[in-house]
Amino acid sequence: MNKSIALGTSLILTSFILNPAVMPTANADIVATHEVVAEQQSGLNRAQLTEQLQREDVREQLVRFGVDPEEAIARVASMTDQEIMELTAGIDQMPAGAGISVGTSVILIGIIIWLIFFR
C-alpha cells in the first residue's frame, strides 16, 4: 500500500520534472545567472522541485481560468520564478487590467446624486 503510494507520487513528480514544456532548463553543472541574480536581490535560493510543482499548478489554474491548454504551457514558460510565485499566491485576486466597463464607482455616484437631489 505504502509502496504503491510512494511509487505513484514519484511517478507524478518525475512526470513534472521530465515535462519539457513546464521545465525551465536546469543545468546540473554550472550555476545559472538567474540564481545568482536572485541571491543578489534577496538572498533566496529555492529548491528546484517546489518550483516545478508551482509552474504546473499555475498552468492548471490558467486553464481553469479559460486559457487554451497549449497556450497555458507557453505562458508559464515565459514567466520568471518570482512571477510564478505571485500567480500561485493569487491568480483570482491579482489586478486584471480590463479597461472600459461601467464600474461600481459610476453606479455609486448615480445613487448618491439620486439621494441628494431626487429625494
Partner: protein
Amino acid sequence: MTARFFPMLIALLGLSILTGCASAPMQHRTLNTAEFTPVELVNTPFFPQDAYQCGPAALATVLVVSGVDDMTPDVLKPQVYLPEREGSLQPELLGAARRADRIPYPIQPQLAALFTELEAGHPVLVLQNLGVQRWPRWHYAVVIGFDPQREEVILRSGTTEREVMSLRRFEQTWQLGAYWGVVVTEPGQIPATAEPVRYLAAVSALEQQQRFDTAIKGYEAALRRWPREYTPAFGLGNIAYQQGRYADAEMHYYHATELAAEEPVIYFNLAWALLRQGKRDEAMLAAEIAQMLAPDHDRYGNAVAVIESAD
C-alpha cells in the same frame, strides 16, 4: 428634518469611500517639476482597445515602439487575456514581452522615474485603478507625455488616443495600481532609470528561457553601461557554456573574475568550462579557489570533489 438628514449622511459616507480615503503620501506634492522638460512622444502608435482588451492594446503599443514592427493587440490577446477574469495580469504582460524577444523592465515606483523614461523617449506601460481601492477598476494605459508647467500627464488609453489627466488625478489612479510601470526598450538599449541588479534580473529571465540572442544583447549593453559589474560577463559566460562554446565561456568568466576576484560562483563555473575543454588541471585549480572562497557553502564547499568526480 431627519428624513432629509439620513440620505445626506449616506451620501457623504459614499463620497468618502469614492475619494479612496487615500492616506499614503502623494509624490506629486514633493516632485520638483522644474527638473523636467515638457515631453510628448507623439509618434507612439495608438491601438484603440476592444472590450476588456486594454492589456493587449497597451502592450502592443510599447512593443511596436521597441521595434517589433508587426505587433498588434490581436496577436497578443491569446497570450495575455484571461477569460474568467475578463482582463490581463501583470506577470503575463511581462511574459508576452519576452515572447516577442524584448526585455521588459519594471521601473521604480516613482513619478520621477516615469518622467525620466519619457524624457529618454521611452513610453511607459502603467497599471491604473480607475475605481476605488475597495471596488477596483483595473486598467492598463501607456504614458506618452508630461507637461510640468500645467502639471498634466498625457496617455494613450482605452479608446482615447490622447487622454490628458491632471498630475494629481493620474497619481491617484497610479498609486492605487501600486505605481506599477514597465519600459520595453529596443534590443541593446537600457532604460534610462535602470539599476544594475534589477536590470540584470530582467535579462536573466530571457536567458533562463533560452532566448539567448536577446539576452546576449542585454548583457553586452549592461557591460557597457556598468563596466564594473561582474554579472553581465558572468551571464555571457553562462550563455556561451549552454551553447557549448566553452572557450568563449572561459574568456567571459576570466573577465568576470577581473571585476570580482572574490566571487566563488565565477570560479565554480570557470572550473566547469575548463573541464569541458579537457583542461583538467586548470579546472581543479579554479575549483580549489571556489572552495577556498566559500568553504561552508552547499555547492562551492564541495567544488573540488564535484569537479574531480565529473567526467
